[in-house]
């Protein structure tokens, strides 16, 4: 038996050797890759050992860590649901989103600019305190945007077109972030599952992320910009004015939303077509320009680019390799064109700012616990998608759109508002998506906005951009101008 026993002993030794090896692989070789897996939430746990910095708006905390008598030491508390889309959450069980995630290195005190404090913390044995992050948001405008959207599902973003600072960023419905930041795992899980399965998607900041939207007629701004930039067209360029146009290579026809001609003349100008948001002339224009020029203009405006505010916005999409029928549909923002409200606000802000598109930005400054300013982002030009002349021509058309066109419900007494509405279809029997984008005042603009109302504003039929979205813009602009 001794020989057999010896062999069994060797087998046992081999079994243990393989365990030693497997453990070494996990704990000494693959460690880095495993630590960086997004499903690994251990970094978040680590951060509970330090007091996380607050997120401030106008000097007042909208999110802060309060010392509590529990194993986690600090409880993250959030002030107001109005900001839920911006802050996102910082949760022991669910990770971090929003500014909590994008500015995490500052908030947790781990950024390289806090190096000396980190050294000091190690030497003194005191835990490091995170830096405060002050946002560019204007609390009164944020509240105004929240109130203006009312019970609609959707989003509103307002940007200062000169600096790129984001003044309001609202996503609806919001959620009570405190319920996700709690320390009771069962309660948090329950709430999280409830929010995640909610068809209204409260957890998503709809201004920059989640599913993008069909732009519908607000995309006509991009088509018009491409036409003006080509040098072949101006505001007065004319197009044939039939009741409908047949999409090339297809039997389907495109109508204007009036189901009639665009005005009573046999031809229609670009300016008139944009003011009344007629589809037929824009299909003709889009087909004449071709998809390459449209895509080039869209990309200049930021389509397909990763823009950080500092949260990463989902890039907007202009489809590739379309046939002419698809190009025709894309020319008024249907087919597979998809945009974020941020993208539309950037287009309006470029038009407002003489063709210069500023880098959108949420962070005003980062202040270390000893009150020194660690970082204060300065205005930066993101791109110049259009010339000043094109911007001016587009501005004129948008002002008319509000003053005497189909964006009339956005008008505000005593202020010249420039704007464009959109009513995007999402397929048969689906509720429409309603848009407004624009800026005010038209001279020396203070604010450029884009807002989206999902789900037809709760109506199965009859909803329109001017009927639903433009009034939201109006009440927001009223707040901006103190009315």
């Amino acid at each position: 038996m001794t020989k057999e026993l010896r062999r069994v002993s060797l087998v046992v030794a081999a079994m243990f050797m393989s365990l030693f090896l497997a453990g070494t692989l996990l704990q000494a070789v693959d460690t880095e890759a495993l630590a960086n897996d997004p499903r690994n939430v251990r970094n978040i746990y680590e951060s509970y050992k330090t007091q996380r910095g607050p997120i401030l708006v106008d000097g007042k905390p909208i999110a802060e860590s309060i010392a509590v008598d529990s194993a986690y030491r600090y409880l993250r508390t959030y002030d107001n649901e109005v900001y839920s889309g911006v802050t996102g959450y910082f949760s022991v069980f669910r990770g971090a989103t929003g500014i909590e995630s994008a500015a995490n290195s500052y908030l947790s005190g781990q950024s390289s600019s806090q190096f000396f404090e980190q050294v000091n913390a190690v030497l003194s044995g005191n835990p490091i305190t995170g830096a405060a992050v002050e946002l560019t948001l204007d609390p009164s405008l944020q509240q105004a945007a929240w109130d203006a959207l009312g019970d609609y599902r959707g989003a509103l973003i307002a940007i200062d077109p000169v600096t790129g600072n984001i003044l309001a960023m609202v996503s609806k419905p919001g959620f009570n972030v405190n319920r996700i930041a709690g320390h009771n795992s069962e309660k948090v899980s329950e709430k999280y599952v409830e929010l995640e399965s909610d068809p209204a998607n409260p957890l998503i900041n709809k201004t920059i992320g989640g599913d993008l939207y069909h732009p519908g007629s607000v995309f006509k701004l991009v088509v018009a910009a491409a036409a003006l930039e080509s040098g072949e067209y101006n505001n007065a360029s004319t197009f044939p004015n039939p009741v409908s146009v047949q999409l090339p290579g297809s039997t389907s026809e495109v109508f204007n939303s009036s189901r009639n001609t665009c005005g009573s003349d046999s031809t229609v100008t670009l300016s008139y077509a944009l003011r009344y948001s007629c589809n037929v002339p824009f299909v003709e224009l889009g087909l004449a320009l071709g998809q390459d020029r449209l895509r080039a203009q869209a990309e200049l405006f930021g389509f397909g680019k990763e823009i950080r505010v500092p949260m990463l916005a989902t890039p907007s999409v202009f489809p590739e390799e379309m046939d002419d029928a698809q190009l025709g549909l894309s020319s008024f923002g249907q087919f597979d064109v998809r945009v974020s409200p941020l993208q539309m606000a950037l287009i309006s802000s470029a038009i407002a700012n003489g063709g210069l598109m500023m880098q959108p930005n949420l962070i005003e400054s980062v202040i270390s616990p000893n009150l020194s300013v660690i970082s204060s982002p300065q205005p930066e030009v993101l791109a110049q998608p259009i010339t000043a002349a094109t911007a001016d021509a587009l501005k004129k058309m948008m002002v008319q759109s509000v003053s005497k066109g189909v964006a009339s419900n956005a008008s505000v007494y005593g202020v010249k508002v420039a704007g464009k509405t959109g009513t995007a279809e999402n397929g048969d029997n689906e509720r429409v998506t309603l848009w407004f984008t624009g800026f005010a005042p038209s001279i020396n603009p203070k604010v450029a906005i884009a807002l989206v109302v999902e789900d037809g504003g709760g109506r199965d039929s009859g909803a329109s951009g001017n009927g639903t979205a433009a009034p939201v813009a109006r009440s927001f602009f009223k707040a901006v101008f103190g009315q």
């Binding site: 026993l5 069994v8 692989l25």
Partner: protein, 458 residues
């Protein structure tokens, strides 16, 4: 002087000076100190103060361990001095980790606590180990009950399938429950079956080793000698199908293979057994849904679909994250977040420990197991009685195989199965069974030393 009386006197003298027992006492003090240190570190790290709970979780197992030690001094003074301290160190480390996970659970509002129950089960298990050592004078006593063991083993195995008392947990039907206490009779069945296998194989080893015809250079036993291995194979398949537990199935079959190989010296059995194991596994992975899911989670755990699936790879991936988080030196006890892993206190206690004690701690734990198994195998080498030899191999190998299957499952050497990590993991039945195994190894090591002493004097 009559040479016989002289021999008796010398052997008495040897018993009067149990040097191994003094070594055992010393090592027990060391294990006790280590254990106190572990719990203290956990309290300082998580609660930032030492509380009287330290005593609650530390003292009872240590007290019982010294009682066991005193019984060994009287009843098995030549027993191996390493086995008891190793078992105590592992058991105490397990309690410390379970207590640490309880603290994390309390912090996040959880109510289900395990450490107190673990301490109570430990005390009970050590008491039963003491009874075994006191009332089983030698292996000869057990030899009378070989077939009784078989009946008991099979009955215990089948018990969970009995309606009303059988209970299914996490998909496996391995438990019985009465008055709210769940118990896994298969753990005790393991011991009964080892006794039975050893007795049966000693009686039949000659006929089992008889060589039949030679085919392709390999000597094949006669057809009817394949009977026993087929029966065990079918029984293991039965466990797999009826009780839905891959780990237990592999455990019984692997155990029998090793014992029949050691008893007969026929490599043929090992060869055909491994072939049968692989065939069974492959067929099961095709036919049985839960086995195929286990295999898929094993091979592609990071695949998002497997990760999200119910009963998928979430647990194993979280366990791996934990081990990676520990790195070389670990986060320190109380410094990591092992509570993120489901069943961190039982099936995944090794990843909890590896996270907080690091690769170094992981190695140390494996080394303790390895030493424990080696001491068991040493009894097998040294004992003169074949029945005792086989039992020692069985008990040592069952610990080794269990460690390999569980830790191999956590570290992705094997598909994950539901076995418990001996002595460490939370769970009463497993503790009870493993302490009986420890008691048996102590008993056998004592008689091995006895026999050798006699032989050398003659």
């Amino acid at each position: 002087m009559n040479p016989l009386t002289e021999a008796l006197q010398i052997s008495k003298l040897i018993k009067v000076v149990p040097r191994s027992r003094n070594l055992e006492a010393l090592l027990l003090f060391f294990a006790a100190g280590l254990n106190a240190f572990e719990i203290a570190q956990i309290q300082l790290s998580i609660l930032e103060k030492i509380t009287t709970d330290l005593f609650t979780y530390w003292f009872p197992p240590i007290a019982f361990a010294f009682v066991l030690h005193l019984i060994l001094r009287r009843r098995a003074s030549e027993a191996d001095p390493l086995i008891l301290p190793i078992a105590v160190a592992l058991n105490g480390l397990g309690i410390a980790m379970i207590y640490r996970l309880d603290l994390a659970s309390i912090a996040s509002g959880g109510a289900e606590l395990f450490a107190v129950r673990q301490v109570m089960w430990t005390a009970l298990a050590m008491a039963i180990a003491a009874i075994v050592i006191s009332f089983v004078p030698s292996q000869l006593f057990l030899r009378r009950y070989v077939y009784v063991s078989m009946a008991v083993g099979i009955a215990l195995l089948l018990l969970p399938l009995v309606p009303f008392i059988g209970t299914t947990i996490n998909g496996a039907t391995l438990w019985i429950s009465f008055f709210g206490v769940t118990f896994q009779p298969g753990e005790i069945a393991k011991i009964a079956l080892i006794i039975f296998f050893a007795g049966y194989l000693v009686n039949r080893k000659d006929s089992l080793a008889v060589v039949g015809r030679k085919i392709l250079g390999v000597r094949i036993p006669r057809g009817r000698e394949l009977g026993p291995i087929l029966v065990i194979w079918l029984a293991s398949i039965g466990v797999l199908v009826l009780q839905r537990d891959l780990g237990t199935s592999i455990l019984y079959f692997g155990l029998f293979l090793v014992m029949i190989y050691v008893a007969t010296g026929r490599a043929f059995y090992a060869g055909i057994g491994v072939a049968m194991l692989i065939t069974g596994g492959l067929v099961a992975s095709r036919v049985l849904d839960y086995v195929s899911r286990r295999f898929d989670s094993w091979l592609n755990p990071f695949d998002q679909e497997n990760y999200d699936a119910v009963g998928g790879s979430y647990q194993i991936v979280q366990g791996i994250f934990g081990m990676a988080n520990g790195g070389l030196f670990g986060t320190g006890l109380g410094g990591g977040v092992p509570q993120l892993v489901p069943l961190a206190e039982s099936d995944f206690i090794i990843s909890s420990l590896a996270e907080e004690l690091g690769l170094i701690g992981f190695f140390a734990i494996l080394a303790l197991y390895f030493l424990l198994v080696a001491r068991g195998l040493k009894v097998g080498f040294r004992h003169n009685d074949e029945f005792a030899k086989l039992m020692a191999v069985g008990f040592a190998f069952v610990i080794a195989l269990q460690v390999f299957v569980v830790i191999g499952g956590v570290t992705r050497i094997l598909p994950l199965t539901g076995l418990t990590t001996p002595l460490l993991a939370a769970g009463g039945s497993s503790l009870l069974a493993n302490w009986i195994i420890i008691a048996m190894l102590l008993r056998l090591s004592d008689s091995a030393a006895d026999r050798q002493a006699e032989v050398s004097i003659r």
